[in-house]
Symmetry: C2
Subunit: 287 residues, 2 copies
């Protein structure tokens, strides 16, 4: 393979390796505006969505998948710089239990709220202070599947480019519009663009299923522990609740986001209540 | 505190500690029928639900919460045996980043399918081969919140008593009826009790929102990677799909379970389509 032309690094004090490793920290990512992805699926989706690939890093001993090898060859032919790492150094850069031998450094992509003009029938998500990066990543993946047009990240602590978040997105990060802004700026954006806002809270008065949603619509999600800040709850048109039984006072934030977004997406795409016409084709005794 | 009467263990070769540690493995749990919980919330919910507490283990240096201290005192007064551990040994037994200094060994509770007579309006869950124990725990927590009456665990590899699963249940494990059985036995149970069965699959033909569900109802969920086995899909009355957009081919198994169960629970409790009467109280311009 021609990837052999990439220089080989095995010294853990090599600055090229140290630069990569610094991207595992929030500070390193903020300073550079870069982040790391690992694995063939992630890299393939990054390329597919024209995400800005800054460089690649490889562990030849783990890169046995032919599709992965072709992918790397194509990237190298485009002139993307890269290095080969020893197995040990490569392992230091990934959370994967079975690393796939190919990773990349990408440039973070952030949009400004002013650039975003919501379409009439669109659905948006705003997240505030999600505790775990893994949960945040699962939320991004869920939002993508539900057809969300973009995600507003309202807390400075929330980092979708954290390696654990990136991993949990399963490659759905690259097609999402991400906006980092203050709660205030988000409120401004929804008002000036006529976006209806629904907040989710365990203390909300309205069952989320009892509402006919109006679009463009933004759902606001807070942390499992603290929920949304008051400022955001007050700015919402409605505060909905997922009714819980069995002594449960909360569910996982990513699960809650999925439950709410897919209800909204169902109304958005016209799977209307009245269209629920299917019954059971056979009796239970026959099932 | 009188918990000082519990013997103190600091030697990592002490058999009392080794017995505890063996419960972190699937083998150790299977052999003994026991499992470990950690933290005040979990222990309080175990006691509240009369879960069979076999013994407790403490780290006094971390047990500063007065509620936790009272809880331990009450448990000791009931004659439950226990040991005190050094901070290091205690830490070896928990996944918590900030251990709360109180843990317990509980007896696993399994029901036989023959014991279970489903109520007319009840909702059930069956899980097959969920990959990660954390995901399985989140699924159990979600099922509890959605009002599920019990969970059938169909694969031998699926262990709800794995420490990572227990932790993710957030204490909702103790009130759930758990049944371990074969797919065949589950099919027998649904047939002989008139339980309608819905399977979830990315290749399902029916949008999950387009169906009017009939109760008693059981939802079957498979792994993210492999989905449900053919045997189970064939036994289902309907195979539903969560429609996905944005190039996503799957969502997290716990999120999918939540999306489906809360739709079913909504129909079960009578938040009927026709009752969706609420609109927006103010125009978007005012929001």
């Amino acid at each position: 393979m021609n990837e052999n032309k990439y220089p080989f690094v095995s010294d853990p004090r090599d600055p090229r390796f140290l630069n990569l490793r610094s991207l595992q920290t929030h500070q390193g990512r903020s300073r550079t505006g870069l982040y790391i992805i690992e694995g063939i699926r992630h890299l393939a989706r990054a390329v597919e969505h024209n995400a800005p690939v800054h460089s690649v890093f490889l562990d030849h001993s783990a890169l046995s998948n032919p599709f992965g090898q072709r992918l790397v060859r194509r990237i190298r032919q485009r002139g993307v710089p890269g290095i080969r790492l020893s197995r040990q150094l490569y392992r230091d850069l990934t959370l994967a239990i079975e690393p796939q031998g190919v990773g990349a450094v990408l440039r973070q992509t952030w949009h400004s709220s002013e650039q975003i003009r919501p379409e009439r029938n669109s659905l948006w998500l705003a997240v505030e202070s999600i505790e775990s990066p893994g949960n945040l990543g699962t939320i991004i993946r869920t939002a993508e599947a539900a057809g969300v047009s973009g995600i507003f990240v309202l807390g400075p602590a929330c980092d979708p480019y954290d390696p654990a978040a990136v991993r949990a997105t399963m490659g759905s990060l690259f097609s999402q519009k991400l906006v980092r802004c203050s709660p205030n700026e988000f409120n401004q954006w929804t008002k000036s663009n006529g976006v209806a806002v629904v907040a989710s809270s365990p203390t909300g008065l309205i069952d989320f299923r009892a509402l006919t949603y109006r679009f463009p619509l933004a759902l606001m999600i807070g942390s499992e522990k603290q929920g949304l800040s008051e400022q955001l709850v007050e700015a919402a048109g409605f505060v909905v609740r997922i009714p819980m039984r069995g002594g449960c006072d909360s569910i996982n934030a990513a699960v809650a986001t999925g439950v709410l977004l897919f209800e909204m997406a169902g109304q958005q795409t016209g799977v209307e209540p009245g269209k629920r016409t299917l019954g059971w084709r056979r009796s239970s005794r026959m099932a």
